[in-house]
Symmetry: C2
Subunit: 269 residues, 2 copies
DNA sequence: GCCTTCAATTGACTTGTATCAATTCACTGC
DNA sequence: GCAGTGAATTGATACAAGTCAATTGAAGGC
């Protein structure tokens, strides 16, 4: 593995604050692998032998039932996945598939569990990571049970805008059919939802979406910090856990005068 | 706090295998409290100062948006809740309300986080608990995105049957309007879903549901171990994490010849 | 005893979403 | 260049679920 890849892994909140020894234990049997687009990395129901760390590319997590499939999450670098199954040494509940050419670090599950037993700081980091993922799913469930498809799309666009710190032009990172499944609708309905949002100044041109009336869009979307996490991703905020902490601090500060960057909250500077 | 209550807390997987010292640290500032039915224990958005341990009664976790409310989970003793928020010292994403008279142990969040730093076994236990809750939510999302309301109800009844080890007569533990919200439908639609299930031998009499044709019900419900956890609750299986491990072992063993009790899987007896 | 209250049910209707089919569009390979 | 593939869109229609309103039913208070 290249040194710069190792640095990126060490940069993950999961591994950031652990002892050098622990890091060596955890990554001893790890190997870096490249996969073409459309590769099934893991099938739901399979035993999970590795913790996956996505270093480059995009991975989709999805679930299947009765010949139907639904996208549960889409991951972008750098992020880990199926940590929960690794911790419990349980079978996967979701399948994982590469959406593009990917570079993935695979760390044996045994090594992770051993490292947790050795280093309370690492075990703590795992807990924080899992807590972040858990809260992400709570948000997902609320989003799906409380909103209709147009509202979900509207909030998705606003979250994207906040995450990428883009102005009034956001770029969709995925194919529309994948996005539709993620948002819990059919591709046909996503198209119709986009047309419905024209009324509030949303225009789509391929993957480029222009928001010419954010005020109206927000009036329709009614974004809520307890459902939508508007933490600016990238920079200091890479893991869900960081985004959760950012969100809480933002809310406590009133959502306007709060910490402007993640570092303002994380460190006392 | 009564000694028998302390024993019940110590019996939780979260606290079962930790050092006596750690347990003392964790529970030092804890206090037992009783609440009448309908009490709001926690409002979404509030900072979370305590880990709650439900010793008696029922608690509902719900979320709100735009004047609508949805039930996200219903807890029965003995179980902990809002562990994720405690670990991250973040604000609650869900509100908690007692459905009946409850007895709840409240453990300061600081004490939990301190204990995690001191004792890797405790940190590990927290990770396992969170991993179990996370996987429970993954199941919930799949359930909601892949099934319609009748299918969700059918599977709910089958899961209840497996959990309580009841024969062909299951008892609903909650009011129907609460159940409807948990299953993601209106009370009116729950009524209709029950009538739809008459065709497969389901009859309702208040809280008592008789399943006179389980084969037909299963044919309709198509239960799936990757969505529905049929672990028999009570006995050895109290936390989500245990149920997850049970489920994996059950599947690996083929779902028929597998471990008959949780202990068969957990210990090598 | 009766009255109140609220959960549960039932029917009529509206809205939301999925499905099916046809067409357009963009990219890829030859 | 052009055909072929699959994504995206659009329209017509069917089905699922929510809403509104009225009724029934059961538990609790006086």
């Amino acid at each position: 593995m290249r040194a710069c890849d190792m640095d990126r892994v060490k940069g993950l909140p999961l591994f950031a604050e652990i002892a050098a020894d622990t890091f060596r234990v955890a990554t001893a049997g790890a190997h870096l692998q490249r996969f073409p687009a459309g590769t099934m990395l893991l099938l739901e129901g399979d035993p999970v032998d590795f913790l996956y760390v996505l270093l480059d590319g995009q991975v989709e997590l999805h679930g299947t039932w009765n010949d139907h499939e639904t996208v549960l999450a889409i991951l972008r670098p750098v992020s880990t996945f199926i940590l929960a199954a690794v911790v419990l040494d349980a079978d996967a509940l979701m399948s994982a598939r590469t959406l593009e050419r990917c570079e993935i670090l695979m760390i044996p599950g045994d090594a992770i569990r051993t490292a947790m037993r050795l280093d309370p700081r690492f075990a703590m980091a795992v807990s924080r990571d899992l807590a972040g993922c858990y809260r992400g799913l709570v948000r997902t469930v609320k989003n799906h049970k409380l909103r209709n498809s147009v509202e979900r799309l509207a909030n998705y666009l606003l979250t994207l805008r906040a995450a990428d710190n883009s102005g009034n032009v956001v770029r969709l990172h995925h194919e529309k059919r994948v996005l539709a499944s993620l948002l819990g609708m059919t591709p046909e309905n996503l198209s119709r939802a986009f047309s419905a949002l024209q009324a509030v100044g949303v225009n789509v041109q391929g993957a480029v979406v222009t928001l010419s009336n954010v005020v109206a869009l927000e009036a329709l979307a009614k974004p809520d910090p307890l459902i939508d996490n508007h933490a600016p991703r990238g920079g200091d905020i890479v893991a869900e856990a960081d985004a959760e902490v950012w969100s809480s601090e933002w809310n406590r500060a009133g959502g306007v005068t709060g910490p402007r960057t993640a570092s303002a909250g994380k460190r006392n500077d």
